[in-house]
Amino acid sequence: MAAPSVSTSPHSAIRSTLPAGVRWPDISFRWLALLAAVTILVLIALVGWELYQGSRLAIGHFGPRFLVNSTWNPVTDEYGAWPFIFGTLVSSLIALVIAVPLGVATALYLTELAPVRLRQPVVMIVEMLAAVPSVIFGLWGIFVLIPWLRDHLFVWLKETLGFLPLFRGTIYGVSMLAAGIIVAIMILPIITSVSREILRSVPNLQREAAYALGATHWEVMRIAVLSYARRGLFGAAVLGLGRALGETMAVTMVIGNRPDISASLFAPGYTLASVIANEFTEATTDLYLSSLFELGLVLVAVTIVVNVVAQLMLRSLAGSGTGKVR
């Protein structure tokens, strides 16, 4: 899988010292390569342009009210994004609450505790999870996870934590919580592998110093490793959030697809990505389609901001190098 690399390129010396060539094959090859590289910038501009074009009608019609309006009614042709923004945020937050502790703990286990022979196989197994397509998680979610959640975990949660509004109400199976759990499973690999990279970049000097003071394994991890790597781990979590926000197929298949806002996590919900997936080809009016485009614009704006933040956090960390000792 394409785990974002934490290191920056140390490569500048290579480029600058070599002649680029002056004859036409050299020059045309270089231009061809430049053209390919610039495609990246064209692509991101294209994303912005197409989504803006598509949503212009809705933007003009509803204005900024679109974001906070919670009515989504194709019959009366009135559209608001709030239920989907709410659903996206809630399901992603549930996913993070589950996946971040699990992922970081696994990364800690892998870097600090696991026998060296075991590390590579465990990493491979976790990476295999990243290879599973979203739609297969969805299929598995519908026929395996949801029935189990509905009959066991949700019932148990309702009995033990039912005093909280979060765990009240009718249990359908398809729900915000089910979506959060599926997304948690899907972002576990990226959180684990990025956290592992971060923890591995903690200098051994940190650990040795703590051990020398007589710290136990856990104290070393807590004082010397975790606190040192705090910012990078936060970056890993933000990266996971970026993935969670845009998860489409599996979420669509287990969240229940109802644009309701409910305090209960057992209630069905809807997310930005899943309403687009479900209703795009059924959009009967121009305004309907345009509103879906605007949801896409909201989704892409949020994910790009989240990804930029994550990249900056992970990058500044790599940039500051190993000399950073606090």
């Binding site: 590289a37 990246i40 910038l41 502790p101 696994t106 286990y109 026929f143 990266l239």
Partner: protein
């Protein structure tokens, strides 16, 4: 916080610290097991539910109308390969050339912007690519098409391939380039014959990883390739793909279709895992990583 007792190591305190450490280690082991569990659960059910519905007709027949038993996903399997081929036709040349530029030419500043944008693009939700290509190709040509699906997947491949290509090219020792240039070999030939050749295995690995990633994508195909239940004779017509068919069947109301969805998922997972195993084999003895 600094009570005097903290500075007086007593036997009890020592035992408590030991215990905490052991308990946390145990907890982490439990977490690691919990993280590993889902892949086994998914694979177990895929094999259990999928294998029993997998037969010869699954690979050779077209889908039957709802209510009729039998039928297969032959068109979807062919469709997935068609779409992958088109995606590779776009993603591989652009991605590899872009990677060459990032590793061999350009300035630090400009390149780090492109690199940064590529990483951000990798985080763009796949459904967005579907909408973008819908606006770009489906609306102007007034039809869903295999082309549109291939382009959507191809766009997703470009930043993936570009980044992995760059990463392996950077690992090629500088001496190789200098030696080639010292012999009077032009720069473009140095890059194609020496640098890319040396890193070829790594580049191919990156391409395969990108293909495995887009092979399972459903969201970008929903409103580009659209899917259909017949053979697609032209690339300007809608085309089916395994993930699309799995989605349609899984969310339907028919038991027979659910059965087929599992079979389709098993086949898709098998394809993707084979690609991943190929990647492992290729990268096992890579000299530069």
């Amino acid at each position: 916080m600094t009570t005097p007792s903290q500075f007086q190591p007593t036997a009890r305190r020592h035992a408590w610290r030991k215990f905490t450490s052991g308990a946390m280690a145990g907890l982490m082991l439990v977490c690691a097991v919990a993280v590993m569990a889902p892949i086994f659960l998914v694979l177990f059910f895929l094999v259990r539910e999928g294998a029993s519905s997998l037969d010869w007709s699954f690979f050779t027949q077209l889908p039957k109308p709802s209510g009729e038993l039998g039928g297969g996903m032959a068109n979807a399997i062919v469709g997935t390969f068609t779409l992958l081929a088109m995606a590779a036709a776009i993603g591989v040349p652009v991605g590899v050339m872009g990677g060459v530029y990032l590793a061999e030419y350009g300035s630090d500043r400009a390149n780090s912007w492109i690199r940064f944008t590529a990483d951000v693009l990798n985080g763009v939700p796949s459904i967005v690519w579907g909408m973008v290509v819908y606006g770009l190709l489906v609306v102007p040509f007034k039809t869903f098409s295999a082309y549109a699906g291939g382009v959507a997947l191809g766009f997703m491949m470009i930043p993936l391939v570009m980044r992995t290509t760059e990463e392996v090219l950077v690992l090629v020792p500088q001496g190789y380039r200098e030696a080639a240039l010292a012999l009077g070999i032009p720069r473009w030939k140095t890059i194609t014959v020496i640098v890319v050749r040396t890193a070829l295995k790594g580049i191919v690995t990156g391409i395969l990883i990108a293909m495995a990633r887009v092979a399972g994508e459903t969201a970008p195909l929903l409103f580009t390739a659209l899917g259909n239940n017949f053979w697609s004779h032209r690339l300007s017509e809608p085309i089916s793909a395994l993930p699309l068919q799995i989605f349609t069947y899984a969310t339907s109301a028919y038991d027979d279709w659910h059965r087929q969805a599992w079979a389709g998922a098993l086949v898709l997972m098998g394809m993707i895992l084979s690609l991943n195993i190929l990647v492992r084999v290729l990268s096992r003895d890579r000299s530069f990583k």
